[in-house]
């Protein structure tokens, strides 16, 4: 079995600062980490490999320094790492990113074997779009299982996978055919600590590095900034709200006291609600 896990190197949001004057994010000197959601995807993939055999390839697109994240993924126990790096990829939105990653996964298929499963995290902590996983699936024509909490069964003979998908109001138990793409939810497992042998192997491993050309990109205009219809118009830090929380004496009837306080602060609310109620 071959599993590809897509990861992203992101700035450690716990240590990010917003420039007080320009309101831009100060990336300089901010340490980078593997997108935390991707670690749940990686662990899920490693568990399946340990159970069913095969290989896990981690893939990322990013600057040359993204090698650090790939090496870390190898320390956790991944078998192979591919870095997609080229200045043509810079400034990509999710449309351009999925184009590049899908192209690289096709190349991985021919070089190292077609993947049975592609994993991504639910979303990244810097972009928060949750579009890249589904985008890759669409481009590669893969079935997709999003927001997966647990992989409950995998049948390599029958080529099926069973997963628990969390949705609003409940859990869906889904079965689909392989190959497919899975986006993993947070807090569904815990990334392992690699053994000494893994750490040693990771420290010396040769990372596969592909430029756009190496990866087989045919249309460079679909990559990076040129291939990105999304434009960041403005970045700003939300202004602090002047409103302050107030302590309400609850007394005998706390619900009434609370409602009174809300209506006092939002005078338009009471007549609106009353009008709505009359409608029923």
């Amino acid at each position: 079995m071959h599993i590809v896990v897509c990861i992203k190197q992101v700035p450690d949001s716990a240590q990010i600062r917003v420039h007080p004057v320009t309101n831009t994010i100060m990336r300089q000197g901010v340490p980078t980490i593997i997108n935390p959601y991707d670690l749940f995807a990686l662990e899920a993939a490693l568990e399946l490999r340990d159970q069913f055999g095969g290989e896990v390839t981690v893939l990322t697109m990013g600057p040359p320094s993204a090698e650090d994240s790939l090496r870390k993924a190898l320390t956790f126990g991944a078998d192979r790492a591919v870095l997609l790096t080229d200045r043509f990829f810079a400034g990509a939105d999710t449309l351009a990113t999925t184009y590049a990653l899908a192209t690289a996964i096709r190349k991985i298929s021919t070089e190292f074997g077609a993947p049975d499963l592609v994993f991504t995290g639910k979303q990244t902590i810097d972009g928060d779009t949750a579009q890249v996983g589904p985008g890759i699936a669409k481009r590669l024509g893969l079935l997709q299982l999003t927001y997966v909490a647990r992989i409950s069964a995998l049948d390599l003979q029958a080529r099926t996978i069973d997963a628990e998908r969390r949705s609003e109001g409940g859990v869906q138990l889904l079965r689909t055919r392989l190959p497919c793409l899975v986006t993993m939810l947070e807090a569904t497992n815990q990334i392992r600590r690699g053994a000494m042998a893994d750490a040693l192997r990771a420290a010396r491993a040769e990372i596969v590095k592909w430029s756009a050309q190496d990866a087989g990109v045919e249309d460079i205009s679909k990559c990076g900034l040129r291939g990105s219809p999304t434009i960041v118009k403005r970045v700003f830090a939300p202004a602090a709200r002047s409103e302050k929380a107030t302590l309400i004496e609850a007394g005998e009837q706390p619900a009434e006291a609370l409602i009174d306080a809300i209506f006092k602060r939002q005078p338009a609310l009471e007549p609106e609600l009353a009008a709505l109620a009359r409608g029923y």
Binding site: G29, T75, R193, G194, A195, M196, A197, A199, L200, A203, R204
Partner: protein, 435 residues
């Protein structure tokens, strides 16, 4: 247990460990370096000042890409009482040379760069891997290390202990004793962020010029200690440290000292309006020559802070760390090239080479200084600073008192506080310790 065997395992990736691993790898040895932090420098909280000369011996063209903050053009020594400071400042445009001699650095960034050089030289560097104990054979010879990773025992011909001031591995294996509270200082440090222009205006700097303030006096409440202020590009490192034994004796708290230092009327305006991003504390070896433990044994050598190598007078901690790491590596390389085993007898070469270097010569020169400063801490850190401050004020105030009388008052205040014999005794002891 890992089957593969290394020529050398270096424990720790600070200055001493990186210098040792780099030198060993440059000489073609098969080196494994183990670091418990997420990356080299991630656990480091030093000030910090870098001396170029020692680094040049390892990486001649380091100025090209090392993350340096500012080169020092000015040094200020302050003797402080509660409301004043008497300063000796030295500033010279000579320090604006093509290859400056001293820099402020931020170790978390610098060590990361240094570690990259170690990797490029061919060493295998594993981070987030803690060495839990030394692996020893039936005769006590060190044959490798055990780590906190699964199947984590790994062997080498020699282990270089660059594990830092606490030296837990060496003490656990019975190679040396833990440093006692009178031999280590506890220093606390904060990083104060300010716009670049503000720092340059407040400290009279332009471009990448930097300056350092070192302060002693009543800020340490009669304990043996010092405060420091270093100007980096966009932040100020500010801290204070005192002997652990003094903290024990007086019950003073490090954060209390730091707070008082920051509120001092000479210091407060320098950091006004800054954003504090980091608060850190660390031990510093202060015992000097007399505290140096056994430096080598069967299958092991110890370098840097773990070997208590720090010249407190000249603040050469990382400098001695780099040098001892390099010298240990060179000694190991010589033993290895002769195809000799890494026995204590052969590794004694490291001590011999270190004795001949400036490291031990300098520490020997100041061998009595730590004890003098410690036993006389009340005089050197309380009485004298207050007397000097009073004398200066007396000298500068113009108030109609005849100058002859002013001088008399100043002399009398010194005699009253310390007596003639006390004054001569202190001067004599200080001169002898300096000799």
């Amino acid at each position: 247990m890992i089957e593969e065997k290394f020529d050398a395992i270096v424990v720790g990736a600070g200055m001493a460990g990186n210098a040792a691993a780099l030198t060993l790898a440059q000489r073609g040895l098969k080196v494994l370096q183990l670091e418990r932090g997420e990356y080299s420098g991630s656990k480091n909280v030093q000030g910090a000042i870098l001396y170029a000369d020692m680094l040049e011996k390892l990486i001649p063209d380091f100025r090209e890409d090392a993350p340096l903050e500012r080169h020092l053009v000015e040094q200020r020594f302050w003797m402080m009482d509660d409301r004043s400071h008497t300063g000796l400042h030295y500033r010279s445009d000579d320090f604006n040379e093509e290859k400056p001699n001293r820099y402020t650095i931020i170790r978390a960034q610098f060590d990361k760069w240094f570690s990259q050089k170690v990797r490029e030289a061919g060493a295998t560097v594993l981070c987030e891997t803690t060495v839990t104990e030394l692996a020893q054979d039936a005769y006590g010879k060190v044959i490798g290390v055990r780590t906190d990773r699964a199947d984590g025992e790994i062997h080498a011909d020699v282990v270089v202990l660059a594990e830092g001031v606490n030296g837990l591995l060496g003490t656990r294996a019975g190679l040396r004793k833990r440093p006692t509270p009178d031999k280590v200082a506890l220093a606390v440090k904060e990083m104060h962020f300010l716009p670049r222009e503000t720092i340059e205006a407040r400290f009279n700097l332009k471009g990448d010029e930097g300056m350092v303030i070192e302060a002693a006096g009543t800020i340490s409440r009669g304990m043996t200690g010092m405060g420091f202020i270093y100007a980096n590009k966009e932040c100020i490192s500010l801290g204070i440290g005192c002997l652990v034994a003094d903290f024990q004796r007086t019950g003073e708290t490090p954060y209390g000292l730091l707070d008082r230092f920051k509120r001092h009327p000479s210091v407060a305006p320098l950091i006004e309006g800054s954003e504090v991003k980091e608060y850190a504390a660390h031990l510093i070896p202060e015992g000097g020559f007399k505290a140096i433990p056994q430096l080598y044994g069967e299958g092991w050598v110890v370098v840097g802070d773990a070997a208590q190598l720090n010249n407190a007078i000249h603040r050469e901690g990382s400098n001695l760390a780099m040098t001892s790491g390099r010298i240990a590596a060179e000694a190991i390389f010589q033993v290895k090239s002769r195809k000799d085993p890494m026995t204590a007898e052969n590794l004694a070469l490291y001590k011999k080479m270190l004795d001949e270097s400036f490291v031990i010569k300098d520490l020997k020169k100041y061998k009595d200084m730590p004890a003098l400063m410690h036993t006389q801490s009340q005089n050197f850190f309380l009485t004298y600073p207050e007397l000097v401050s009073k004398a200066m004020q007396n000298f500068l105030r113009v108030d109609g008192t005849p100058k002859v009388e002013k001088e008399k008052t100043t002399f009398k205040s010194f005699i009253k506080a310390r007596s003639w014999s006390g004054l001569f005794g202190d001067a004599f002891r200080l001169a002898r310790a300096w000799r």
